[in-house]
């Protein structure tokens, strides 16, 4: 059974749907990415899951094994986390833990654990107002995890970070996903590919592609050839385009990307083609199109 499920979840603002009939199913024990460009409706969707926003229509079901207020079982890092700057990092995390119902002693223990997990041990007694952006992001993750929720929801956890901070958080997420289920949003496909098992791609409030990462990669990764020649390929290409094993071709001056049905047949046919040899080959490479190409296409 999945951890959280939505049925035709919709949020309208003045008649415009920011989220439009979204049906999600988040599996327990995996890392799920909600991928989409700015304004796709990621934050709105996540806010409905956490209960911060009420859906206009549709339903949200949390796994029946985890009873009661679903906020108990969710940890949330907002896209722009705002802390009480007058608290120290340590105070904030233990405040969050106690709000979630942990006893003082437990809260303290869990706070210590989380601060060392996110690497804030040294700065624990500093005021949060003096934290850098990266430190705040890590503090935000610590407060989201401190009550050991079943589902951790992170809204664009790496978008505001520099490459090193980004790397650190992604590594942290890889560690986390061994213990908890994670749902995170991002507008970068690469982040999703790196840590997630399941992917939902969202655009203009709708889910347009969904599935397991490897399944999607298989489905959308097609064998392809990159070919470069000294002479112009136009004439030759028109003869090649007729062939049954060709799916698609894209010529950019003297560089050709040829997507094909199957590698072996295509390679044999291409290498045996005398016409190609006359064009004076510079480069002949077997490759695969990536999810990126698909992503760029749907995002346009």
């Amino acid at each position: 059974m999945s951890l959280i499920e939505t049925a035709r979840l919709t949020k309208k603002y003045n008649g415009n749907a920011a989220v439009d009939t979204v049906s999600l199913s988040i599996r327990e024990g995996v890392c799920t990415a909600l991928l989409g460009p700015n304004g796709a409706g990621k934050t709105t969707t996540l806010n409905m899951l956490t209960g911060l926003i009420k859906p206009t229509e549709g339903e949200i079901d949390f796994n029946k094994n985890y009873a009661g207020d679903r906020r108990k079982h969710i940890g949330y890092l907002p896209q722009y986390p705002k802390f009480y700057g007058w608290m120290t990092g340590e105070e904030y995390v233990s405040f969050s833990a106690e709000l979630a119902g942990l006893s003082k002693k437990k809260a303290k223990e869990s706070t210590n654990k989380m601060l060392s997990l996110v690497g804030l041990e040294e700065d624990r007694r500093k005021k949060v107002s003096g934290y850098s952006g990266g430190m705040k992001q890590r503090l935000g993750i610590a407060q989201a995890l401190v009550h050991e929720p079943k589902l951790v929801i992170l809204d664009e956890p790496v978008s505001a970070l520099d490459p090193i901070g980004r790397r650190e958080i992604l590594e942290l997420m890889k560690t986390l996903k061994q213990h908890t289920s994670i749902l995170f949003s991002t507008h970068v496909l690469h982040d999703a590919e790196e840590v997630s098992d399941d992917i939902f791609i969202m655009k203009k409030g709708k889910i347009i592609i969904e599935g397991g990462l490897s399944e999607l990669q298989q489905k959308y990764q097609q064998p392809a050839f990159f070919i470069e020649t000294e002479k112009a390929m136009d004439n030759w290409l028109s003869s090649i385009n007729e062939k049954s094993w060709v799916r698609q071709s894209k010529l950019d001056k003297k560089k050709l990307t040829l997507t094909v049905e199957e590698v072996d047949t295509a390679r044999d046919a291409l290498l045996k083609d005398p016409m190609l040899h006359k064009l004076k080959l510079l480069k002949f490479e077997v490759a695969k199109t990536s999810l990126e190409d698909l992503f760029m296409k749907v995002m346009r």
Binding site: N47, L52, K54, R71, P78, P81, K82, L99, G101
Partner: protein, 263 residues
């Protein structure tokens, strides 16, 4: 449940210790409270020295009674004191909403009842403590420099005025919870206080029930130890209104979206 309330209350408490609200609000009230008996006592001297009276003119102002001075103190509290209290607390929820600090609190399994009542009790505690020390200062200097006012009159008058403060601060919390703009909170609560006081002054017959009557009842208590007509009506009505406003605020806050915007 109670434990969570305690956690939220402690957060409010620590916050106002660290930003010195627990220091400067009582100080403001002490200053206001002490100033009234002092200026009354030295009034004649002040006028003589700085008033530029013609040579030989004899100033003969009867010194004010103790009750008058205490009533004047409440007047100070109602003007400057309220302004300061409202400015100090108008952002209690509205400020959190506009900064977004409330999100990570309310996304935890926090009951909105606890969130709002912890703030409410804390605001009342600071406001009433400030009033008590300020008023105590006024009573002390009045006794020292002018005359003693019967203890019963002082206590009952002070208690009635405390209820008026409670009413206004409840209104502050309510507006702060329901609006994001602190300007609305300030104008709304101060405007209501002013309107109620003015109406009570000019149409006391129509306004018998109004919480705005409380401050004139408390002044009468200083003078005579007795309240005016309709005291019990306005007392009961104030308590009903405070309860009603709190209930309504919690209900509306529950209905409202916590995250108004997604930035």
């Amino acid at each position: 449940m109670m434990k969570q309330w305690g956690v939220l209350f402690k957060k409010e408490w620590t916050e106002s210790v660290r930003n010195f609200k627990w220091l400067w609000l009582p100080v403001v009230f002490i200053l206001l409270g002490v100033m009234q008996p002092l200026t009354s006592y030295y009034f004649a001297d002040i006028i003589e020295n700085f008033g530029g009276l013609p040579e030989g003119a004899v100033l003969d102002i009867p010194p004010p009674s103790g009750a008058e001075v205490l009533a004047g103190t409440l007047g100070q509290f109602s003007q400057i004191g309220f302004l300061v209290l409202v400015l100090a607390f108008m952002g209690t929820v509205a400020g959190e909403k506009s900064h977004g600090t409330h999100l990570m609190v309310l996304v935890k399994p926090v009951s909105y009842f606890n969130y709002l009542t912890a703030k409410w009790v804390h605001i009342l505690l600071i406001s009433l403590s400030s009033f008590v020390v300020g008023f105590a200062g006024a009573v002390y200097y009045t006794a020292l420099l002018i005359e003693t006012v019967p203890v019963n009159n002082v206590l009952s008058g002070g208690a009635v005025y405390a209820l008026w403060i409670t009413f206004i601060m409840t209104l502050v919390l309510c507006l702060s919870a329901l609006f994001r703009s602190t300007a609305i909170v300030a104008f709304g609560s101060l405007g209501t206080a002013l309107l109620m006081s003015v109406l009570s002054m000019y149409t006391p017959d129509l306004m018998k029930w109004s919480p705005g009557m409380l401050s004139s009842h408390s002044q009468m208590l200083f003078y005579s130890g007795d309240t005016g007509d309709g005291f019990w009506v306005s007392l009961a009505m104030t308590i009903v209104l405070i309860t009603g406003i709190m209930t309504l605020t919690i209900y509306m806050f529950n209905k409202k979206e916590v995250a108004g915007h997604t930035e």
